[in-house]
């Protein structure tokens, strides 16, 4: 009797263990699914369009009579929006983190943190609305030649959107620097500025850089705000006040329109998504690598 009770107990335990493992392993299936789905259509796409054309042609006109499949305009559009966003969000986010960690009294910090958390939780379509109805009109007051849809407005709003990513991850990194390091520097007569910028930030540099990379990767993958604010003109330009199209915005535009399965237009969705996926994947892996490779361990 004892033995069978123990046996059934063991059986139950291993069944539960196997079920739990299946759930955890399912996550790898999701990744495989993404890669498989993207690869399958992308390979068919590259059977029709040479990969050299895809990377070097300067025109993206998949819907025109004379088709052009140069991803460059979309890529430049994405990089320009993300670059503009980074110019705003990286310094502002890092300084916010320094303020919250080194300067702010705890009571003020308790008020500021939730505001930044709310900022991080606002849906991107709302940011799109904000860009179109507030930031763009404001830009046009100062620069009347700004187009209704423009990269600058998208950059600004995406920049605001990723401030919390930078500030919260950087703050965690700054907070992990032990007080002994700060006290040592103060003991040598350093000012608060010197302690913050020459001791704390360098000590937390891996975490800060990882937060930068992650934030830029988010900006590149950002979709709705960019679709609404930057427009849908695949236009190879570096002028931020013109209408452009990012990779993500193209995917939305193409899937809103009628793109029957099996056509080259349908496959462009996957080719562009694959490019986007690879870029963000490389950046995310890089961010993790920086974090683990250059982490300073403090006891």
């Amino acid at each position: 009797m004892m033995l069978t009770a123990k046996g059934s107990r063991n059986l139950k335990e291993s069944v539960i263990g196997a079920l739990l493992f299946a759930c955890a392993a399912a996550s790898t299936l999701v990744t495989l699914g993404v890669v498989f789905v993207l690869l399958r259509e992308t390979i068919t796409f590259f059977a029709d369009v040479s990969i050299i054309d895809f990377l070097t042609d300067t025109r993206w006109e998949p819907m025109f009579q004379e088709q052009h499949f140069g991803v460059m305009p979309l890529l430049v559009g994405s990089v320009m929006v993300a670059g503009g966003a980074a110019v705003i969000a990286l310094p502002v986010g890092l300084m916010t983190a320094i303020f919250l960690c080194e300067y702010s009294p705890p009571r003020l910090r308790r008020m500021l943190k939730p505001a930044l958390e709310i900022l991080a939780g606002i849906p991107t379509v709302v940011y799109g609305y904000f860009a179109l109805t507030f930031i763009t009109p404001l830009l046009r007051v100062f620069l009347p030649e700004t187009e209704i849809f423009n990269a600058a407005s998208a950059s600004i709003v995406v920049g605001i959107m990723i401030i919390p990513t930078v500030s919260s991850l950087s703050e965690d990194a700054l907070r992990a620097v032990p007080d002994a390091l700060r006290e040592g520097a103060y003991g040598l007569g350093a000012t608060k500025l010197e302690v913050s910028t020459r001791v704390v930030v360098p000590a937390a540099l891996s975490g800060v850089i990882a937060s930068f990379i992650l934030a830029v990767s988010r900006a590149i993958g950002e979709t709705m705000a960019v679709t609404i604010a930057a427009g849908n003109m695949a236009n190879l330009t570096l002028n931020p006040f013109e209408s452009i199209q990012t990779m993500t915005a193209y995917i939305v535009q193409a899937s809103l329109g009628d793109t029957p399965q099996g056509t080259t237009a349908y496959q462009t969705l996957f080719a562009v998504a694959m490019t986007l996926f690879l870029i963000t994947l490389v950046m995310n892996v890089m961010s993790q690598w920086v974090l683990s490779r250059f982490r300073e361990e403090y006891q």
Binding site: S27, L100, G189, E194
Partner: protein, 297 residues
């Protein structure tokens, strides 16, 4: 941490060099303070902008009417119903699987390359742009499984999107349960599952629920993946079943934003207010749960 620049020996006075250092320090402090306010101000302006445009259009009729070609008659009934459906279904699908995965990784998994691969993979999935999940949903659920442009396709896609977030939050909550509790239970002869189910999970539950609610509020605010799986901007009925067509609040908002007329822009703002109220309610629940958990510790 106090200001230490003043701790010079008595009577030595402050040199010009020190004075400059102190001034630059004060300037930097102010700059950091201002930088912090950038985010806070942006949030304030955004909310005021939306409230000013949208409050005028917000009334009971707006909540109980369907979308319409005529802006004065349009409302968010279908979108609100769709969002609630999506919220419920996504929670039902993603919660059990994610918590099971988190339990496996924290309580069961051996420290080997399989575990490490799964863990790295989950971290990477959390960084995949949401629109890529939309493409996966389109190929896998809409076309592959033949679920068409239905609520269930949308909910499955969003579940894949938020599962990494729930798993990571749950892992953190489980990790925060003190070792001693597990060891005491093992010492009394409990099996691994008994320890997990009766000791670890109850203690970790508030943290798990907080993480889940935050992830779900991300799902409720998502637009792009649902465009991919074919949610439509114009729906004049509330969904009755899993295979019905649907729309959600963010999509309805996008549909209105993308029209040039001001009347529709104001509708979009009113829709945003409804969406933000829904999200804030969810966040408030999450914060209450978190505070309750902190009191209990």
């Amino acid at each position: 941490m106090s200001d230490v620049t003043g701790t010079r020996p008595l009577g030595s006075g402050e040199s010009a060099f020190d004075r400059r250092r102190r001034r630059i320090g004060t300037l930097f402090a102010w700059m950091c303070g201002l930088a912090t306010l950038v985010g806070v101000f942006a949030l304030g302006i955004l909310l005021v902008d939306v409230l000013m445009d949208g409050l005028g259009r917000l009334d009971v009729a707006f909540l109980t009417s369907f979308a319409s070609r005529f802006p004065e008659r349009a409302g968010v009934k279908a979108a609100l119903a769709g969002s609630v459906w999506i919220l419920g279904l996504t929670a039902l699908i993603s919660f059990p699987i994610s918590v099971a995965a988190a339990i496996y990784l924290e309580e069961y998994a051996a420290r080997n390359w399989v575990t490490k691969t799964i863990q790295t993979n989950i971290a990477n999935l959390a960084g995949v742009p949401s629109i890529v999940y939309g493409i996966l949903g389109l190929a896998l659920f809409v076309r592959g499984l033949g679920l068409q442009r239905s609520i269930i396709s949308g909910a499955l896609t969003l579940s894949l999107l938020i599962m990494p977030l729930i798993i990571m939050a749950s892992q953190e909550a489980i990790r925060a349960v003190p070792r001693t509790i597990r060891e005491a239970a093992y010492g009394l002869g409990a099996t691994r599952w008994q320890v997990t189910a009766t000791q670890v999970l109850p203690m970790a539950l508030p943290g798990i629920l907080t993480g889940t609610i935050l992830a779900l509020s991300r799902a409720v605010g998502e637009t792009a993946p649902l465009i991919m799986v074919g949610a439509v901007g114009f729906v004049a009925f509330t969904p009755k079943g899993l295979t019905d067509q649907f729309t959600v609040l963010p999509l309805q908002i996008y549909n209105w934003v993308s029209r040039p007329q001001d009347e529709f822009r104001d509708l979009a703002a009113a829709g945003i207010i409804v969406l933000l109220v829904l999200l804030l309610t969810m966040n408030a629940v999450a914060i209450i749960l978190r505070n309750r958990a902190q009191v209990r510790r």
